[in-house]
């Protein structure tokens, strides 16, 4: 009995020493981890905007490796609908080493559900970041934090004026005003504005394309704006009293279509 009791006492003491040693070294190591998050950079490619967030994780003073580091960003709209999800995974940052990682968040506008809403309305997106890691394969940790990302609409306050007709012998010239502001700091609106005039029977009776080039918002109070009066010659023989004008904005990032009805007082 005496030996059994002594063995149990020693087992307890050894386990306590191991536990205390583990706790002290883990706490010490965790305080020696350095994380430097750099300035996010953004790149505009053909059809997508990419935010690249650099992070330098310094585990030089650590006694344990950082395993299964997973950084996830979820962007939601104001109603909580998930617009996109992006993840970066680093299998291991060994002890006494430093790793540079890039967490990329890439938005392709046309892949966002109901993306047309965000072309004409400013909003605040909610960015939910989560970091999951397993420290020393002993302590799995999970961090969550939220931030907001203001979204500037590239076609903010899009206004299409009432179409007006001016007649000559063979044609009618439909003219109307189009105006909007580019609130997006990322999107350079460089493309074409295709205008089609349709009669009551949905027949195309006139068409024209106009180049648009509105630079991104630079951060001062003056939003880059587009304000033009567009004119389209229309075949007078097919012209009906009412119809519609279809406008299609075509850029490398998105395509947006809107229609405006017209009503003429008289037809020659």
């Amino acid at each position: 009995m005496k030996h059994v009791l002594r063995a149990l006492r020693w087992a307890t003491i050894i386990l306590w020493i191991l536990l205390v040693f583990l706790v002290i070294t883990l706490v010490y190591s965790s305080f020696n981890i350095g994380i430097d998050v750099g300035e996010p950079q953004f790149f505009v490619e053909d059809d997508r905007i990419t935010w690249a967030i650099p992070a330098r994780i310094n585990n030089n003073g650590g006694l344990y490796g950082i395993h299964d580091l997973n950084i996830t960003t979820i962007i939601e709209d104001a109603d909580g609908a998930i617009l996109l999800k992006s993840s970066s995974f680093v299998p291991l940052i060994p002890k006494q080493e430093t790793r540079q990682i890039w967490h990329n968040i890439s938005i392709s506008l046309e892949k966002i559900p109901n993306y047309q809403v965000y072309l004409t309305n400013d909003t605040d997106f909610i960015m939910k970041h989560s970091i999951r890691l397993n420290f020393g394969k002993v302590v799995p940790c999970f961090f969550i934090f939220n931030s907001t990302m203001p979204w500037g609409a590239p076609l903010y306050n899009l206004h299409v004026g009432e179409p007006d007709c001016q007649f000559n012998a063979t044609h009618c010239i439909v003219s109307f005003n189009v105006s909007f502001e580019n609130h997006s700091p990322y999107i350079n609106l460089n493309g074409t504005l295709k205008v089609e005039v349709l009669n009551q029977n949905e027949e195309k009776i006139g068409m024209n394309s106009f180049p648009i080039n509105v630079p991104p918002y630079q951060g001062n109070d003056n939003y880059p704006a587009y304000n033009e009066t567009l004119t389209i010659p229309v075949d007078i023989s097919k012209l009906t009293r009412s119809g519609k004008v279809r406008l299609t904005f075509q850029t490398s990032m998105f395509s947006y279509e809107t229609e405006v009805p017209y009503e003429l007082e008289e037809i020659f």
Binding site: L5, L8, L15, V138, F143
Partner: protein, 152 residues
């Protein structure tokens, strides 16, 4: 029980010894709070539980020392180990704790440590039970030698 040995003088000495040990537990708590001052914001939410834990341990230490040399000592040691196991399971929410610091939510999975603490306390329970059996055995055989301290 040998009540003749349970004199007023011995009782005072026991209370004094038990008191000193309980104070030592409080000193340990004080040192713990000093060491964790830097991360107090992290564990601030859990400070009432930590305080409660140290108070309970101090009470146990006092009672165990007071009942030293009796079967109650082993019963109290057993109760202390059980208390530690259940208290840790409840306060550490089965090993997964979450802490909110400003805008950041941190979740820590401490199940490994919880498992280790439970193992240590289970070994402690086994040791206590065997010690109690040994104590009763020696007492039954009349081998229990009275020492300087009072014995019941």
């Amino acid at each position: 029980m040998n009540l003749k040995k349970f004199s007023k003088r011995n009782l005072s000495i026991r209370i004094l010894k038990a008191g000193v040990k309980a104070v030592l537990v409080y000193v340990a708590y004080f040192i713990f709070t000093l060491l964790t001052q830097q991360v107090y914001e992290l564990i601030g939410e859990y400070s009432p539980f930590i305080e409660g834990f140290f108070i309970a341990i101090a009470v146990f230490v006092f009672l165990i020392e007071l009942s030293s040399g009796t079967i109650f000592k082993y019963m109290l040691e057993f109760a202390r180990s059980l208390f530690v196991i259940f208290y840790l399971i409840v306060t550490l929410k089965s090993g997964i704790i979450d802490v909110n610091i400003q805008n950041i939510t941190l979740m820590l999975n401490l199940q490994f440590f919880l498992l280790m603490l439970i193992s240590i306390n289970l070994i402690e329970i086994a040791r206590t039970v065997l010690s109690a059996i040994d104590f009763l055995h020696k007492k039954a055989e009349g081998e229990l030698q009275p020492s300087a301290g009072a014995r019941i």
